[in-house]
Symmetry: C2
Subunit: 205 residues, 2 copies
DNA sequence: ATGGATGTGGAGCAGGTGTTCCGTATCAGG
DNA sequence: CCTGATACGGAACACCTGCTCCACATCCAT
């Protein structure tokens, strides 16, 4: 009796645990490909499970979304840390923007949750604040070192990220990369454009 | 009998015509404020009419959307013509981009129809082609006159417009204008780094 | 004014969503 | 094995959407 009270979290049946992981994997792939608006029934169908099973593991829709996105968000946090560790201020900032865009390119659902008005976004409020604060550091360093123009603020970079996140043509790598390039030029100081850009400019007579 | 056949378009009852115009006005305001996804029932409610009346005047949802947006689209065409008439190539291009952004700021539904994947967009395919071709002229002129960098193409400007159209923070004038500014800097030639400096070089021989 | 053409309103249909219920199948400790 | 707790599947519910049907109201030419 007392043991039962202490052991609140009972070990779940192994098949149930397998189904849970399988569901997260399927949902993660599906959300990445087609966004967060996929019906629960469709996730269940692709996982080869019943709809009730999905709701047993994830009572509400947002629970499934947050579970599917959790490790991706952690991954983002790692990349942001890498940018903070980069010694060159411009490479740090532009690298963070690029890796943000890259996620957007490969995972349609992620930024929908991180930046959109999606209900599931609430679960990642803490991560969003962390990322915003880290990005602020990157911008400050870049401004102080003269890598970006003196009037550039964290708000400007937030505008850039939001533009990248909401970009409708983001499935096209060409278009997305062009947008990132144009925005980075907009941020950079006149003598400190991105390496790719300066290379291209030199090639043009 | 034969007269009835010839007179295919009969004059509608005056109250019906009034309701039709009222519906378009209500729908236009509603779509501008809250986007094109508003339910038909909500439009009917705001107009003080029954849902069946809405469907009599506009059999399908897209019919109402296109009717509500028709004069706005015509307005856009007029503004684009004004840009084509502007002698300064940079002012012409940046003006077109700015006025595009301004529409986005004041009408949430318009660019949703013009640039988004919304079903109603099909009705404005002709207008979109016209606008795209006009924009191409503006870009060509700007490139030839040296107002934008030599590698800038119409595709780049399309990327910019799409980014503006899909920008999620577009309800905030500050953020939207900042985005436009950053993008224009990304397009502009080095000696023309901000819209303000364009005043320096008014006339292009 | 009046009667038939024209227009209206709201209930109802069809299709789609998230979520719940409950009989049945499956696992795991005895 | 066998048996009870655990988990599953799919039908069903509640809600929302665009759209239709039809009895009733309104207009306007006669």
């Amino acid at each position: 009796m007392r043991i039962a009270e202490i052991e609140v979290t009972r070990k779940p049946r192994t098949d149930a645990e397998l189904n849970r992981r399988h569901l997260i994997a399927v949902a993660r792939a599906a959300f990445a490909d087609e966004g967060l608006d996929l019906p629960m029934r469709e996730i269940a169908r692709r996982a080869g499970l019943g709809i009730a099973t999905v709701h047993r593991h994830f009572p509400a829709r947002t629970d499934l979304v947050t579970a599917a996105l959790a490790e991706l968000v952690a991954e983002c946090r790692g990349e942001m840390q890498a940018s903070l560790d980069e010694p060159d201020p411009w490479r740090a900032l532009s690298g963070a923007v690029h890796s943000f865009a890259e996620h957007r390119l490969h995972d349609r659902g992620l930024n929908q949750a991180l930046f959109g008005s999606h209900p599931a976004a609430a679960a990642f409020a803490v991560d969003r604040r962390e990322q915003a604060s880290a990005m602020e550091q990157l911008v400050d360093r870049a401004r102080e070192s003269g890598a970006v123009r003196p009037d550039i603020t964290a708000a400007d970079v937030r505008v850039c990220l939001s533009a990248i996140a909401s970009f409708r043509l983001a499935h096209s790598a060409t278009h997305l990369h062009r947008l990132v390039e144009l925005l980075l030029i907009g941020l950079a100081a006149d003598d400190r454009t991105s390496p790719e850009t300066s290379a291209r400019r030199q090639a043009i007579p």
